[in-house]
Amino acid sequence: MKQGVNPDDLTRPFWEAANEERLVIQNCTACDRLQHPPAETCSKCGSGAALEWKQMSGRGRIYHYGVVHDCPIRLLQEDQPFNCAVINLDEDPGIQMYSHLPGTPVDEVPVGAAVELVFDTAANGQKVPEWRVVTDN
């Protein structure tokens, strides 16, 4: 099971949207550029005032993956081994998210495959964005 999440000031919009089963990513309106993880200012132009939260389509692709056999997080250790993939968002492949790829057998991950957004529930009830491989049917 995933650790619980206590939203903080910087990430509260992200986690609140997740509880509504939406994915939002920080966007700089001055640069028209997404950034993730979020920050107090845009990593390109330095503006803080131009930052907003932008809803994503929930589509992406698997960049690559590893199989975690020795996890430092206590609550996840009972789930070992598990997939841990890096997802590139369709809106901007430079933006990454992690995923356990629910439904994909361990170490049978189709690199480059399309994925779609789903949600998992962490130990304290917080919903967490996850990704599932898109099948043809």
């Binding site: 650790q3 910087l10 986690w15 993880p37 990593s43 690559h64 199989v67 997080i73 598990f82 890096v86």
Partner: protein, 441 residues
């Protein structure tokens, strides 16, 4: 005395800066190491501070310098390998009170300030300059070299120490909690261990170039073999165990494709060097090893993990910057000691500088050739972190010792050690140094 982090202006992190303005005018002379251990046993004479005092005094003695002539100290205040003092555990007052203390009770135990060092080394009464090169020895070396070149000090100690405490690596603190803050959760809620990012880059490297994990075996075996010839190292001192190809292939996974031997072992250790001006170095006990140039990378990943494209671009830029600063070409490099902790990114550093002309995607094939210390293409003769435990300084010690012909059983014999390069740690954030047997190569 308050010690500040070095300003970014001391790091040469842009391309096009030309040859280093102090090329050949700064030299390393003395080397000292403290004893290593897997974890601290709680005693005063094995504490972080204690082993660092040993390292510093050995470096001074090795250089043959009067401690009163030393006017500089550059070091890194942070010392954790991932271990932090457990929440709620009583402080070790017997150890704290065994030394002259600072306002931070755990100074000398789980952190190490310049103030603590100077309070416990009264022989350094002539010190007038302290600065932090935060991160690792690679940072401190760059800062010390620049400081001497700029005239901020003329005889400077350079120190890096690491502490490790009882308990498994990164299994305590927030990782053991039921819930974590939202910002940290964006990364850690998926449970990726420390080697994961490099493992992802390595996986993509193998996919892109048609390589595989087993091809790393000769590098790992060679590194441990070299490390076992490093008497100051952890494995040589405590567990003289080779790693065979079969051992490597059979090792348990941590985050596949990174296995146990694709990770270094956290240890307690400390090392110090004595740097000085080229002029003063001529009168010291050991042969000077001159710094021809230094360079730093400050790459920013777009998102969480630097992609292979980002890593390769940054390493190539670092290689160009270092050669430009040193005023040499890669053909002048006798041997390389680029960082290996994690070993799965060592090839990025090697390919970045084009060591022996290898291009991106060729390093793992290069590993299948003779990369030993007796051959014409020595790779990591120090053995690095894989050979001697996590310190991030074996590579620098080895460069100095090889060029001084003091590397003992590790001494390279297939090449004349005239120019060595070392540095790291990360492909997208590191500091690199070019060492030379002569000031005007």
């Amino acid at each position: 005395m308050s010690t500040e982090n070095a300003p970014q202006s001391m790091y040469r992190s842009r391309e096009g800066l030309g040859v280093w303005e102090h090329r050949g005018k700064v030299a390393a002379v003395g080397i000292g190491h403290g004893p290593t251990s897997r974890r601290w046993d709680g005693k005063p004479d094995t504490s972080l501070g204690a082993i660092s005092l040993i390292a510093l005094r050995r470096a001074i003695e090795d250089a043959g310098v009067d401690p009163g002539d030393i006017d500089g100290l550059v070091m890194d205040e942070k010392t954790t390998t991932g271990a932090f003092w457990p929440r709620g555990q009583e402080l070790p007052w017997d150890v704290i009170n065994a030394y002259n203390t600072t306002d931070a009770p755990l100074d000398g135990i789980t952190q190490l300030s310049a103030e603590w060092i100077l309070k416990n080394m009264p022989e350094l009464a002539g010190n007038r300059f302290t600065m932090y090169g935060p991160g690792c020895m690679s940072n401190a070396i760059v800062v010390a070299a620049q400081a001497i070149g700029d005239g901020l000090a003329h005889t400077c100690l350079v120190l890096k120490a690491w502490h490790n405490l009882p308990g498994r690596y990164y299994q305590t603190g927030a990782n053991a909690d039921d819930a974590i803050p939202g910002t940290a959760a964006l990364r850690s809620v998926w449970g990726a261990p420390a080697c994961y990012g490099t493992a992802i880059q390595f996986a993509e490297y193998c996919r892109k170039y048609g390589k595989n994990h087993d091809m790393m075996a000769p590098f790992i075996s060679n590194s441990r073999r070299n490390g076992l010839r490093f008497p100051e190292g952890y494995w040589a001192q405590h567990r003289p165990e080779e790693i065979t190809t079969e051992d490597y292939k059979a090792a348990r996974w941590i985050a596949k494709p990174a296995n146990l031997f694709d990770n270094d072992i956290p240890i307690m250790c400390s090392a110090a060097y004595l740097f000085t001006t080229a002029e003063r170095a001529r009168h010291m006990k050991q042969k000077p090893v001159y710094i021809l140039g230094h360079a730093s990378s400050r790459g920013q990943a777009r998102s969480f993990i630097p992609t292979l494209d980002e890593v390769e671009a940054e390493c190539a830029e670092s290689g160009r910057k270092l050669l430009e600063a040193a005023g040499i070409t890669v053909d002048d490099v006798s041997f390389e000691n680029l960082y290996d902790g994690f070993p799965q990114f060592h090839q990025f550093h090697m390919e970045g500088i084009r060591y022996r002309g290898i291009q991106p995607g060729e390093a793992l094939d290069f590993y299948q050739t003779d990369i030993s210390i007796t051959g014409p293409n020595p790779v990591s003769p120090s053995g690095g972190n894989i050979g001697s435990g996590r310190s991030r300084f074996w590579m620098h010690t080895d460069c100095i010792q090889q060029i001084q012909h003091r590397a003992g059983e590790r001494q390279v014999t297939g090449v004349e050690p005239v120019i060595g390069v070392s540095g790291g740690p990360m492909p997208t954030g590191g500091n690199f140094t070019c060492w030379s047997a002569t000031p005007d190569y």
